[in-house]
């Protein structure tokens, strides 16, 4: 057992939470977040998602571009083991609930359990670090993923969201579906999967997060059993093409539309933001300030939302928020309306009015309070803690300090941010219309 591993404690007295970080000799960062829950949740993730499509390959040493959807395909195939078994079966034997997901910038393998944690953790570390791809197994997965792609193709909300990204971004890979297309996944081979795996699944690019009623010693002992006891000192850094540098400040297209099986039009409005701080802590700060600003502008308690409802312009469900990562950032507002263009016009009028009259200090305090409460509430679930912690790790920032960051955001800072946010030239809208509207 690795008793001598240095440990960094990260603590929040206000949240009454603490977790520990260990740099394992294998190169893997291990986070243990103790929580008095029946359920323990473990997540083994890599900072590799669907947008990492052009990179210096660790196997060839050359810049390569791989087919869209390959990170997601790899996630599916990793569960198949060399002996022909499926990792899911072993998790089931242990009573664990296992799963995996791929997002734009990360891939996560996870399980939750209330018993036999050690067996499940061992399995998680084993199967993710032992890839086995063959042409036959790749071929057999194409049918399953093709149906997954068709399922998302039929989902109007999904189509509308991607439509907004396609309208905002001209080049960035974020405009392409995480799963790829039926055509792009047909180009995936076992060799390409290995190339991506060896580039992005090195342990120094990954993290293990465990949250629940479990001791650090147990986690470290199992990591010692499964993972290598050392890693190459001089690993070449992972180099991906930074697609934000290609993007203009303006939205690529102001408007796109699709026609699908929907009962009334749905819309996604995006406000592109290319001013992305290089440092993780600064991105966290911008995220906190922008999230408060979103609450001030679009909250259900606010003037705009209630005007849109009163005038019958929208259905009650209106979602909004800010998203920021290393190479993309945008605000978005999504909902349902018989007249999405009128909604956009009213939003723009409102933003213009507030720019003149100024933001309200009272709304700022309320927005901050809402963000504070939502964040604190997220610490009731081992699943959300582990996933949020890893999301912060991927962004090179720290989870518990987000509360202090929220606290430190000032009204003046938000007002200043507002001046350069939600500008008309950065705006892109996607509308999904009912099929009969198109026929007309």
């Amino acid at each position: 057992m690795n008793n001598s591993l240095p440990c960094t404690r990260i603590r929040s007295t206000r949240l009454k939470e603490e977790y520990r970080l260990y740099h394992h000799p294998s190169g893997l960062d291990i986070y243990v977040f103790p929580k008095e829950m029946t359920n323990t949740y473990a997540l083994f993730g890599t900072k590799y998602g669907s947008i990492h499509n052009t990179f210096f390959s660790a196997t060839t040493g050359e810049m390569v571009t791989v087919p869209d959807g390959i990170a997601h395909f790899l996630e599916h195939k990793l569960f198949t083991c060399e002996d022909g078994s499926d990792a899911f079966e072993r998790f089931s034997d242990y009573g664990a609930d296992a799963n995996a997901y791929t997002s734009f910038n990360k891939t996560c393998y996870l399980f939750s359990c209330t018993d036999r944690f050690e067996d499940s953790l061992k399995e998680l570390l084993e199967f993710v670090t032992h890839p086995y791809f063959t042409p036959e197994s790749v071929e057999s997965e194409v049918g399953i993923i093709s149906e997954e792609i068709r399922m998302y193709d039929d989902n109007p909300s999904d189509r509308c969201f991607y439509g907004m990204l396609e309208a905002m971004y001209q080049f960035h890979s974020i405009r392409r579906n995480i799963c790829g297309s039926v055509e792009s996944i047909s180009q995936i081979t076992a060799d390409l999967l290995y190339q991506c795996y060896h580039t992005f699944y090195r342990l120094s690019n990954m993290a293990l997060v465990v949250c629940g009623n479990v001791s650090d010693e147990t986690v470290l002992r199992i990591a010692d059993q499964v993972l290598p006891s050392s890693h190459a000192e001089a690993e070449a850094p992972i180099q991906c093409f930074n697609e934000n540098e290609q993007e203009r400040r303006q939205a690529f297209q102001p408007y796109v539309e699709y026609s699908m099986q929907v009962s009334k039009p749905i819309f996604n409005i995006g406000f592109k933001d290319t001013e992305i701080p290089a440092e993780g802590a600064q991105r966290q700060r911008k995220d906190a300030a922008m999230s408060i600003l979103n609450e001030m502008l679009f909250s259900r308690a606010g003037e705009l939302y209630n005007f849109l409802i009163e005038t019958d312009l929208i259905s009650p469900a209106l979602s909004y928020g800010y998203s920021i990562s290393e190479t993309t950032a945008y605000n978005s507002v999504a909902g349902e309306s018989d007249d999405p263009q009128a909604v956009l016009k009213e939003i723009q009028n409102y933003l213009q009015k507030v720019r003149k009259s100024g933001l309200s200090q009272e709304a700022f305090e309320l927005g901050k309070r809402v963000m504070y409460a939502e964040f604190v509430k997220s610490f009731d679930s081992t699943e959300s803690i582990a996933n949020n912690l890893f999301a912060f790790v991927c962004e090179d920032s720290e989870l518990l300090s987000y509360l202090d960051t929220l606290e430190q955001v000032t009204f003046d800072e938000v007002c200043e941010l507002f001046q350069s946010a939600f500008l008309p030239e950065t705006t892109a809208m996607c509308v999904v219309l009912p099929l009969e509207n198109t026929a007309k």
Binding site: D115, G143, I144, I145, V262, I309, S315, P316, A373
Partner: protein
């Protein structure tokens, strides 16, 4: 964690689980009454209308603002069908007072606000206001029509409708839409005053406050809640089949959606309960990633991305949901039936059986970690007067044998097949055709 129950007033009872485990507290208010078509129509509209304003917070903006002030308390009102019963419920999810500055009094604020919503809606001339009601009717109609946006959920709804084709208390979406549009302010107000208000109010609390504190708050703000008639819930009963039905609905989507409805004849019951056997059967059949449906229809045959089953213990219906290429419908349907036949023939491996048991054990134990799930588990049991803790339910699961499963599987009958036939031609299919 097992709830305790106290009577607060003649019309209000409180079940509570006191725990410091969570940063979020849960307060659920449930009003039960009988399920019939008329009640269902009114009850569909009432949640939205009650959320539009109260005497003290006379607009939706004012109500929402108060919720934000109460540290982003989330209030959800809904109409729910539980077997042959109907409930109006309000669930408030609130930040524990220990995470707010001293004096914030979130719990008290929330009880006061909920009392406003349930007891003092914003009336005009003694009736619900016309304009918000008209809007809520439009929203409800939009919501019903919008079910088609999610084809997987829509297929399940249509399958359930068809299985209840002879049930007068089960209107179709189309019938519900037509009836909702006939509701006016006087009739909805009468329903609220004559059916909801005189009913018994069941409150469930999970959080750190003492029972004395919660009781006192309920006493203070709900003293005017007067129960005039105690509703005795209709116990779950397995509905009978009226013959096999198959319906195909073409739709311009790229993926076909298959929904199959089976009758098991087994419901949760205070006597001779076999629903735990059915739970294990369902787990083996299609509820887990190592179930027969997942391992065969998805993994071995590569027919779909998802193929799973679900069991409703309040009406005894087992459903299967699967997304497929439309041309594979017959193959997928047969493959699904084959998996059930295997269970009926006793072809259940030890690995499948053990995996189902440990998976269910895991799910039951995990209930303790979620205040909403705790409330749902114990709230529903209380509703039907069923005894038994989570541990006792786990004991029952452990006692299930393969023989019991095979015996029960033999009585499962396919009742309805509903299929959304995708008629949209995909780009790759066009290329293939060329």
């Amino acid at each position: 964690m097992i709830p305790k129950k106290v009577t607060v007033t003649d019309g209000v009872t409180l079940s509570y689980i006191r725990t410091n485990k969570f940063k979020t507290g849960i307060l659920t208010f449930t009003v039960p009454f009988s399920l019939n078509r008329e009640n269902l129509v009114y009850n569909t509209l009432l949640p939205g209308v009650l959320r539009r304003g109260t005497r003290r917070y006379p607009s939706m903006a004012a109500l929402n603002r108060r919720l934000d002030e109460l540290y982003a308390t989330c209030v959800e009102l809904r109409s729910q069908r539980i077997g042959k019963n109907l409930t109006l419920s309000l669930t408030a999810e609130l930040l524990d007072d220990s995470y707010a500055p001293p004096g914030a009094k979130i719990l008290e604020g929330v009880v006061e606000l909920v009392a406003e919503i349930l007891l003092h809606p914003d009336l005009e001339g003694g009736f619900f206001r016309v304009k918000p009601l008209e809007q809520e009717i439009r929203f409800a109609v939009d919501s019903i029509r919008g079910e088609i946006n999610n084809t997987r959920a829509y297929a399940a709804i249509r399958c359930a409708e068809l299985m209840h084709r002879d049930d007068p208390d089960y209107p179709t979406l189309t019938e519900l839409e037509a009836q909702i549009q006939k509701v006016d302010a006087p009739s909805l107000t009468r329903y609220y005053q004559n059916t909801v208000l005189p009913s018994h109010l069941q409150v469930f609390y999970v959080g750190s406050a003492s029972i004395e504190q919660v009781s006192l708050l309920l006493n203070t703000y709900f003293s005017s809640w007067q129960c005039k008639k105690v509703y005795m819930p209709v116990l779950p009963m397995a509905e009978k089949s009226t013959g096999f039905l198959r319906v195909n609905e073409p739709m311009p989507v790229s993926q076909g959606k298959l929904a199959m409805g089976f009758r098991t004849g087994v419901c949760v019951s205070p006597n001779n309960d076999r629903s735990h056997v059915m739970l294990v059967l369902n787990e083996i059949f299609g509820a887990s990633p190592v179930s027969k449906l997942f391992m065969n229809v998805r993994e071995r045959m590569s027919l779909c991305y998802y193929c799973s089953s679900a069991y409703n213990r309040y009406n005894g219906i087992l459903t299967v949901s699967c997304g497929i290429d439309s041309k594979n419908e017959a193959v997928a349907r047969q493959a699904i039936l084959d998996q059930l036949h295997d269970i009926q023939k006793g072809q259940i491996s030890d690995a499948e059986f053990c995996a189902a048991l440990v998976s269910l054990e895991n799910s039951y134990r995990a209930i303790d970690d979620n205040p909403i799930e705790l409330q749902t588990f114990y709230g529903n049991r209380e509703f039907f007067g069923l005894s038994g803790s989570i541990d006792e339910c786990r004991d029952k699961l452990r006692s299930v044998t393969k023989e019991q499963i095979v015996s029960l599987a033999g009585q499962i009958e396919l009742d309805t097949v509903f299929f959304i036939e995708g008629t949209k031609v995909c780009a790759e299919q066009e290329a293939d055709d060329e």
